[in-house]
């Protein structure tokens, strides 16, 4: 079952914050986050494996809730380079190896 991702799109001004959510109806093995620039392949940002885990790289961070059914990606003090489509990918513990993606969140950061 594909994860449900929200919102579909968000427009930010440089320096503003945004949150992207990814949820599943059952506990997951892991959650991956990717960013895709127009016309390019998605690029891996980070993976979360443990309930309650939080990770970050510079001003982009993510969390995985205790039940491992929801993850959020936080864009803090957004930069123009953050523009793109963000996807969460989930691994179902009942279907080992199956990596499915949400519908994506388009992020546009304006000057």
């Amino acid at each position: 079952q594909q994860p449900v991702q929200s919102p579909q799109a968000v427009i930010l001004r440089e320096g503003e914050d945004a949150v992207i959510n990814c949820s599943s109806s059952k506990a997951l093995y892991s959650v991956h986050w990717y960013r895709q620039k127009h016309g390019e392949a998605p690029v891996f940002l980070m993976i979360l494996l443990k309930g309650g885990e939080q990770k970050g790289h510079e001003k982009i961070s993510a969390s995985f809730n205790e039940k491992k059914q929801q993850s959020s990606l936080y864009l803090t003090a957004s930069q123009l380079s953050y523009s793109g489509t963000y996807f969460c990918g989930t691994e179902d513990p009942d279907s080992w190896g199956k990596l499915q993606f949400g519908a994506g969140t388009q992020v546009v950061v304006t000057p």
């Binding site: 998605p42 690029v43 891996f44 993976i47 494996l49 199956k98 990596l99």
Partner: protein, 110 residues
């Protein structure tokens, strides 16, 4: 270092023609391999995945098929393309906790 090669980058094919897209991985062994399709402005649709040689799981029962003849090779095929097969096809591999995508093939069926 691990790399993934996918070709061709672009392809224009007539309706009814066959298709073969190839993806190879270097620098790793026994990776999980994936084929996704992305329609314009849309999400990533999982088509096939493979956890080992000869092991293919199909998510989309259409006129596409996949094969994994070698550990690091994943092939997407079709005997007769449809207009609806147009899209951006992405190969990906997953090893342990990291996943990487190939550069993609933009297929236009005319």
């Amino acid at each position: 270092s691990q790399t993934i090669h996918q070709w061709p980058a672009t392809l224009v094919q007539p309706v009814g023609s066959p298709l073969s897209l190839e993806c190879t991985v270097e620098g790793t062994s026994n990776p999980n391999l994936y084929w996704y399709r992305q329609a314009a402005g849309r999400g990533l649709q999982l088509l096939f995945y493979s956890v080992g040689i000869g092991q293919i799981s199909s998510e989309v029962p259409q006129n596409l098929s996949a094969s994994r003849p070698q550990d690091r090779q994943f092939i997407l095929s079709s005997k007769k393309l449809l207009l609806s097969d147009s899209g951006f096809y992405l190969c990906a591999w997953l090893l342990n906790t990291e996943a990487f995508f190939g550069q993609g093939t933009r297929l236009t069926v005319v």
